[in-house]
Symmetry: C2
Subunit: 200 residues, 2 copies
DNA sequence: TCCTTTACGATACGTTCGTATCCTATAGCT
DNA sequence: AGCTATAGGATACGAACGTATCGTAAAGGA
């Protein structure tokens, strides 16, 4: 047998290089050649792992989901419900370079979804999953009395997701570490969570 | 003097062709040649009015703002405050092909802003204006007693903008005229506006 | 040790891109 | 009527793109 390589890890390495490139230069600078250079390999090597550029972007998109889930796993689930939920939302916001790159990918694909039905389906599925997860989480909050139970959790889940995306958009307009604006937006998030979820 | 043409109207006509193209094919299909074809003129003619492709996209972006303002002007400002505000928000949501194209442009530029400081500044200015406008509008609502006055209007304005963008993202994942999801998202919007703004 | 299989790089090909340049037709002024 | 400045089209050019193809080095099984 020939030289053996962990193909999945290799693909991940290249996709991570793509994310770094997006963070630094934006998604329009992504090409097979630029990603290869960022990864420190040849364009031919990239082609070995990704048949098309589209494949490459798709894996990078998947990666953003994995990174988010990994960040969620590090969150301490103890404590008041609303604070735990807040931490999960913050984990998705573009507050450092890594998350900015992820959000750029997500927004670029959102724009793309409007005209490409296959990507629309894919995003709808992912957001559907996120919606289900959020709904179940909110129902749990209701069960412990930490979330008001007079509102429809499905609608509340829509609002949590919308706020996350909407605040992400605003944060992407802001240079990294422009903390006054960041603090204001996070204060707005806290206000929304309190007014929408806290029992009265 | 030579043949005379209203240059601004010509630029607008071309930018509108660009928006139609974005609606149908997505922003990555935008090129000087494809826009020219959509506008029914030659690529050379497009170059007469736009020095660079970037200029062309910038004008198309400005156009999205103009279209929004024009839709706002058609809204009946009479009636309950929250319903009027709701109409202004709905006017920004991608619920038809025209608005979908506009939102694709906005999202694409949002993604671009993360790596291009000049575009970040421009979007921050535009969103700053929208934030000011919303703040003043909410303050007016407070003055008539239709908006609760125990919350910071600046933070509420953040939330209105974030909800608008976040719901727009979700709507872009949905094919046009998939009305059950649309209705649910609009119901979520109504819930948020009522819970965040209505006096209790 | 030789052979097979794969990783990876190098190179090539055709297309499309943004942009520059040139040409011609025409509308308005003197 | 003739001149001139501009609109608009045609064409050109170099760069960058996605992708295909070929060559080479090396690692493991026989």
């Amino acid at each position: 047998m020939p030289k053996v390589v962990d193909r999945d890890e290799r693909k991940r390495t290249i996709a991570e290089a793509l994310l770094r490139l997006v963070a630094r230069q934006g998604i329009e600078k992504v090409s097979v050649r630029t990603v290869a250079a960022e990864a420190g390999i040849s364009a031919g090597a990239v082609q070995k792992y990704f048949a098309t550029k589209e494949d490459m972007l798709a894996v990078a998109f998947e990666l953003t989901g994995e990174f988010l889930v990994r960040r969620w796993a590090d969150i301490d689930a103890e404590g008041p419900f609303i604070e735990v939920l807040r931490e999960h939302i913050v984990a998705a916001l573009p507050l450092d370079e890594q998350r900015r790159a992820e959000l750029v990918i997500v927004f670029a694909f959102t724009a793309r979804a409007a005209a490409q039905p296959d990507w629309a389906r894919r995003l709808q599925r992912d957001y559907g999953d996120a919606h289900d997860l959020t709904t179940r989480f909110l129902r749990f909050g209701q069960s412990t009395g930490e979330v008001r139970d007079d509102l429809d959790v499905e609608r509340l889940a829509d609002l949590v997701l919308a706020l996350t995306d909407g605040l992400s958009a605003r944060l992407l307009h802001t240079p990294l570490l422009r903390s006054p604006q960041h603090d204001e937006l996070l204060a707005s998030l806290d206000l929304a969570l309190h007014e929408l979820l806290a029992p009265r």
